[in-house]
Subunit: 124 residues, 2 copies
């Protein structure tokens, strides 16, 4: 073997790496959070449950667009809904949503601080 060899390291890594299906499910989950509209919807529901047209009004978007996204969120068990007459109220189905988003938020703010620091150092 002339080119450099990684079999030793890879043995350990492979052992700890979850199966393909799990990793796909994981990225599929994060894909849900990887859309501005969906994040906005979820964040809005932090405060209180909302009906579809309220969300549409809030985000300045089509009712249809919101409905489509809510369906995706519901299919992934991130939101649930209850019907009251003609209107349907959506709410967060899971506290993990809050945690996951907060975690991302924290990462962002730390990153921003780092950028600030670097800018200050560059000024000196």
């Amino acid at each position: 073997m002339n080119k450099h060899d990684h079999t030793d390291v890879l043995i350990n890594v492979k052992r700890e790496l979850p199966g393909d299906e799990v990793l796909c499910d994981l990225s599929d989950l994060f894909k849900i959070f990887g859309d501005t509209t969906r994040v906005k919807i979820l964040y809005s529901l932090f405060e209180s449950e909302l009906c579809v047209c309220a969300i549409a009004e809030l985000l300045g978007m089509n009712q249809s667009a919101i409905s489509h996204q809510l369906r995706i969120l519901k299919d992934e068990n991130l939101v649930a809904n209850r019907r009251s007459g003609k209107t349907v109220y959506y709410y967060l189905a899971d506290d993990h949503v809050r945690t996951i988003i907060s975690m991302g938020y924290e990462h962002l703010t730390e990153k921003r601080e780092t950028v600030k620091k670097e800018a200050l150092q560059a000024d000196e």
Copy 2:
């Protein structure tokens, strides 16, 4: 106003909702995790730092594809690298990566258990 009105609720929601830019950055961050290849790379780095071709070998993919993804991960400050001669070793730059992924993983396992329970109930 005949159609139903949400101004009251929306006032509160609007007050707590972060600005557009923050929410975009947030979804952009999650978008990074929303790709199987990138999740696999990140998960691999949980164990130990790895050079590009080791990752390529591990995932059975092009070196080019891996490089492109590593660049994206680096731009988002999720991984960093060090050079040792010809080879470049990548490693996790931030412990948030572990937390975020673990959080997603946890959500998934709970969801799986719910599905199992439902299946059991359906059997009865």
